[in-house]
Amino acid sequence: MQPLLKVQALSKTFNMRAGIFSRKKFDVLKNISFSIGKGETIAIIGETGSGKSTLAKLLVGAYSADSGQILLENNTIENNGNRDAQCRYIRMIFQDSATSLNPAVTIAEMLDDCLKFNTDFDKTQRSEKIGSTLLKVGLLVDHQQYYPHMFSVGQLQRVALARALILDPKVVVLDEALSSLDPSVRAQIVNLLLKLQLETGLTYILITHHLSLVRHISDQLVVLNKGEIVEYGATETIFQNPQSKVTQRLLSC
């Protein structure tokens, strides 16, 4: 099967301050390659500082890579740091939806902006799309006029999901999006994600440290340590038979 998203030899280096004038280089990601098919979920686990969040930001285009390519359906969208300006196919949900939504605009305005900048829909098409997306994530059309503070945490996560889905993306990156939720709310959101994947063939990149959840919903697993992939393969095989020391330590606790 042709992979949907292919990442080849991605590297990223940050310049850090070492003294007053001197700077030192810090390799956050070294030579990362993996690929995912349509409708699959890949989980990325690792300790803090292993470069998980940097990888997520590289994938959505918030950072540009130093070298390496990202291919989406065989189209190169990032080549050695040159990014295709399109942001509609890979979208991201952040950890804390309460602080990542603008408190001063209504949900309708926020979703409308996404459509205005990325599509050439006219006004009626836009409002139709907003309504249908809200219904898709389990909210009501009337929720358009609400401000973010009027929602509960679980509903906010649904709004964040609506903002990601409104451009009909192919890949959604979930950066710790499920770990701050309460168990029963998390079960609801996970169910919603699984349902959407089944219906529309979405691909998820799940970054989390919740291991039982990883085991339940992901097909493939990438274990990062200090910017390098130490293990990459099918989730169940790695869980049953972890090869490297780092993975064994991560999974044992």
Binding site: E47, T48, G49, S152, V153, G154, Q155, S180, D182, P183, S184, V185, R186, A187, Q188, V190, N191, L194, K195, Q197, H209, L211, S212, L213, R215, H216, I217, E236, R249, L250, C253
Partner: protein, 330 residues
């Protein structure tokens, strides 16, 4: 020996219109050397109970209790000065957000040194200073920080969340308290650091016989080492009892829902199959339903549920439900 004994603790928030009852008649007791867990979702009043025990809630909260005994002394009847003394001697609390609870303007060393008890300070100030330094160093080693010099000489924002959490624990155990209240100590941490923190707390419990009241919304974190679990929903205690019995035979629909939302414990759930989840969301404090507060979301709710159910007790396992999942034979 009974350390903490709380009966019908009610915490209300005074607003301009009405009083909102955030915690509704919660009772529990804690023996010496035991680890108990308060489990519930956000907004269920877990942190409020902890803060009420320590006495750090401000004046807008009205706290009433039939009794709140700490080793036989009723905390509610003490003067604020006496209460502060008792609490600061015997109870310590780890707060929820470590990097936000540490003082951003002071270095870690000064913050830890401040919490050291002022006993046995002998000799001149140089000697006392040296002793203080040694004790801070010993504390920070005990919680598992190896590079003490770099950590002690930095401000909270320069450290990672995990290190901040360990510093908070070091501050909490500086006075070797009898009871440690840990309010979601591991929410911000990843799995390896979380395991370290749990190992540390566990060893404190076993070696120093320190009682621990864990507050958490993750059941799986506490199952292996807590003696008792109290499940809260919207400020009401729905089920309480020994850990293994709660896990093997939950009586309350809410406890069952919590257990079923864990992928580990729901055997026979296929890969990517949807979880069991209660419908709806947790009601806000302004719009609490009458009677059993789970009522509108409960799959088994019936007419009787508009009256708040009484706590029924059966072999140390108590639950508040009109229609428990397992009926007791009397």
């Amino acid at each position: 020996m009974q350390l903490l004994d709380i009966r019908n603790l009610t915490i209300e928030l005074q607003t301009s219109e009405t009083a909102i009852r955030a915690v509704d008649r919660v009772s529990f007791s804690l023996k010496e050397g035991e680890v108990h867990a308060l489990v519930g979702e956000s907004g269920s009043g877990k942190s409020l109970i902890a803060k009420a025990i320590v006495g750090v809630l401000n004046e807008r909260w009205v706290i009433t209790a039939d009794r709140m005994h700490w080793r036989g002394v009723d905390l509610m009847r003490l003067t604020p000065e006496q209460r502060r003394k008792t609490v600061s001697q015997d109870i310590a609390m780890i707060y929820q957000d470590p990097s936000r609870c540490l003082d951003p303007t002071a270095k870690i060393f000064n913050q830890i040194a401040e919490t050291l008890p002022e006993v046995a300070a002998k000799g001149f100030f140089l000697k006392r200073n040296r002793e203080r330094k040694d004790r801070v160093k010993a504390l920070i080693h005990k919680v598992g920080i190896k590079n003490h010099e770099a950590v002690l000489d930095s401000y909270p924002h320069e450290l990672s969340e995990g290190v901040c959490q360990k510093v908070m624990i070091a501050m909490a155990i500086a006075r070797t308290p009898k009871l440690l209240i840990a309010d979601e100590p591991t929410t911000a941490l990843e799995s390896t650091t979380r395991a370290q923190v749990f190992r540390l707390l566990k060893s404190l419990n076993q070696l120093k016989n320190m009682s621990i009241l864990m507050i958490s919304h993750e059941l799986e974190e506490i199952v292996n080492w807590s003696h008792g679990i109290h499940v809260l929903y919207c400020g009401q205690m729905v089920e309480a009892g020994p850990t293994h019995r709660i896990f093997s035979q939950p009586r309350h629909p809410y406890t069952q829902a919590l257990l079923k939302s864990l992928p580990d414990y729901e055997h026979g759930l296929a890969h990517k199959e949807p979880f069991y989840a209660l419908k709806g969301t947790i009601p806000t404090l302004q719009h609490l339903p009458i009677g059993c507060r789970l009522g509108p979301r409960c799959p088994q709710a019936q007419k009787e549920c508009v009256v708040a159910p009484k706590l029924s007790k059966h072999h140390g396992h108590s639950y508040a439900c009109h229609f428990p999942l397992i009926k007791d034979i009397k």
